[in-house]
Symmetry: C2
Subunit: 366 residues, 2 copies
């Protein structure tokens, strides 16, 4: 067990930003909110999955919607708590633990806000090891945790509960439609699962990984060593490309930020151009016709100098960036996982998934 103090919040926000692979929303607001609660005396405990009792009620909470909306429309912060209360009312039982469903982006820090508000511990793990744009793209549902009951709430505390839906894709469609009506962003609480189900399906220790990534970036900056190299060391990733952003195409479609960007190579990448497509998150990186990396592997864009994560919504002409490829967690590479989070699931049926070499989070101390 460890406690999330202000320093850890800073680390996690940076680490989660990098693991967000361009999406997942910015961890910044959640960090500020959690910091306020910690300063006011809240104690946010993080427990490893294997310390959670089998009969616990673990609920995943966070915010869904397009990150580009989250930047311009700041929520109250308690939307997921309202959703959690609706889920508890339906189940007739109180949650015992909170777990992030995605460690990448804003849904890393928001569960801490809810944990602080509800007085519950946070499980050190998640269901993506990164960020993904759609609800069904998580190891909970890929490995058989029922997706309902599920709850959504908006800033007016309007609540939508799905007592039963036949599968996660149906939840994605129904919840996405409601989220759009909720203004493009909604707090969620789902799935609720037993401790045993969580231990079988969660990707463990990813909060610790995010914390370590952030810690090493911050220390590299103060020690004037190369923070990007340090990120590679901790994450098990590799440098894919270095250059200047020369074009960003971005549009809102069906509640998602979709688009593509182009990076003109500098340094070792001079003379080449990398193109990256995204749907909230970065999906595929190509130089010319060659595919350099593709989902579920993590394609992370960071500032060349500071390793500060560059998310989809802040991409703009002229940014000097490094593109990092991190091998996906093994739980995302099984056939059942690739059917949901592989290239075909994102509209690239012709692309074969060839995993980046290495092991996710290999350099982390845990």
């Amino acid at each position: 067990m460890w406690v999330v103090d202000e320093g850890r919040l800073e680390h996690i926000a940076i680490g989660a930003g990098i693991l967000g692979t361009g999406g997942g929303g910015n961890p910044y607001y959640g960090k500020l909110h959690a910091r306020r609660l910690v300063r006011d005396g809240a104690v946010i405990e993080v427990v490893p999955p294997d310390e959670v009792p089998d009969d616990a009620l673990v609920v995943s909470v966070g915010t869904m919607g397009a990150p580009t909306v989250g930047v311009e429309r700041i929520g109250r912060g308690d939307e997921p708590l309202v959703a959690l209360r609706a889920l508890e009312h339906h189940l007739g039982r109180k949650a015992t633990h909170i777990i992030p469903s995605e460690i990448g982006g804003g849904n890393s820090t928001k569960p801490m806000v809810i944990a602080a508000m509800a007085g519950l511990p946070v499980v050190d793990g998640d269901a993506m090891g990164r960020a993904f744009p759609e609800l069904q793209m998580d190891t909970f549902s890929i490995y058989g945790v029922p997706i309902t009951p599920a709850a959504l709430a908006d800033i007016y505390h309007n609540v939508t509960l799905f007592p039963y839906l036949k599968d996660a894709l149906t939840l994605e469609r129904y919840a996405r439609a409601v989220t759009i009506q909720m203004g493009g962003s909604a707090g969620y609480a789902f799935p609720g699962m037993s401790g045993a189900e969580m231990k079988r399906t969660a990707i463990p220790l990813t909060l610790t990984l995010a914390d370590e990534i952030g810690r090493t970036v911050i220390s590299a900056r103060s020690e004037h060593t190369d923070p990007v190299q340090r990120v590679l060391d901790v994450t098990g990733g590799r440098a894919l490309f270095t250059g200047k952003v020369t074009d960003v195409q971005r549009r809102m479609a069906a509640g998602f930020a979709r688009g593509s960007l182009e990076i003109e190579g500098t340094g070792d990448s001079r003379g080449m151009t990398m193109g990256i497509d995204f749907q909230n998150e970065n999906l595929i990186a190509r130089t010319g016709n060659e595919i350099i990396a593709v989902v579920p592997d993590l394609i992370c864009i960071v500032d060349q100098e500071t390793a500060e994560p560059v998310t989809t919504e802040v991409l703009r002409y002229g940014l000097r960036v490094a593109v990092i490829g991190i091998p996906a967690p093994e739980m995302l590479k099984t056939p059942e996982a690739l059917a949901v989070v592989g290239p075909a699931a994102f509209g690239y049926p012709e692309v074969e998934y060839r995993p980046l070499p290495g092991v996710y989070g290999q350099g982390a101390t845990t």
Copy 2:
């Protein structure tokens, strides 16, 4: 109290078709389903509002969506029952009575199906006295019955529950978005209200009115008297126009059937053309620039010879029709009601509501 037998089902289907003002969906499927249940021994009791105890739990059930979808995609028929069970689970209490929310169209007969399945009596009344395209357009919400909790279910028994929404317009937006995902048609259960709330807000005895309209039409047909005139006598309506349908423009937009039609006059209407706009239901009838009738007054299109109702989804070139105008129930003419169901609410801010003379249902014997 009266019991819905097969004959009454035939009457109500015709009466509800006429009161549907072109929309509300066809009562035909619900009639067939209810008839099957009655033949199998179900007893559907209809009780007048003033016989319902103040502490009853009265729940409105039916189907929402575009009538054009309902014609091509036949539901299971138990969708509203699944929604009702979800509502009851949330409330922790069983319903005691069913009430239609709209007497016009399919939501007249579907509540009888659910009443038969659930073994509950049906209240003789509704919240529109006709049909309207949107959820907030009902006397329950106009006169202050909380719109949530509310439940929807689809043919796969996927369920969506809205435990709390701030107002009926929000429910309209959220539930419409889910209904579209549900394939354009969903069973609903809302609002749940006390007997006292129902008695304060329902338009009473409209099932009896539908029954009487249908009875008089059927007897006129067999007696070779003019069924259209008999409808006018019973409803308090007047003949607005007679002619042949010469043009129908229809499109699906945001889950609604929207469009317009033109009727070339014959008989007393010779030399004139009537144009009617609809959004599921007929909204406004004009000859040239003159407004002949407008919502909330009922603009009903029936077959010239048989008085069979002609609904939006079966409108086609060549039909010989009579257009009937029926004055709206008084509860739809108050300032608070006109704000929700008057011309401006349907996109005609420049049109002043000038009520048709007469009294809704004046010629009915009750």
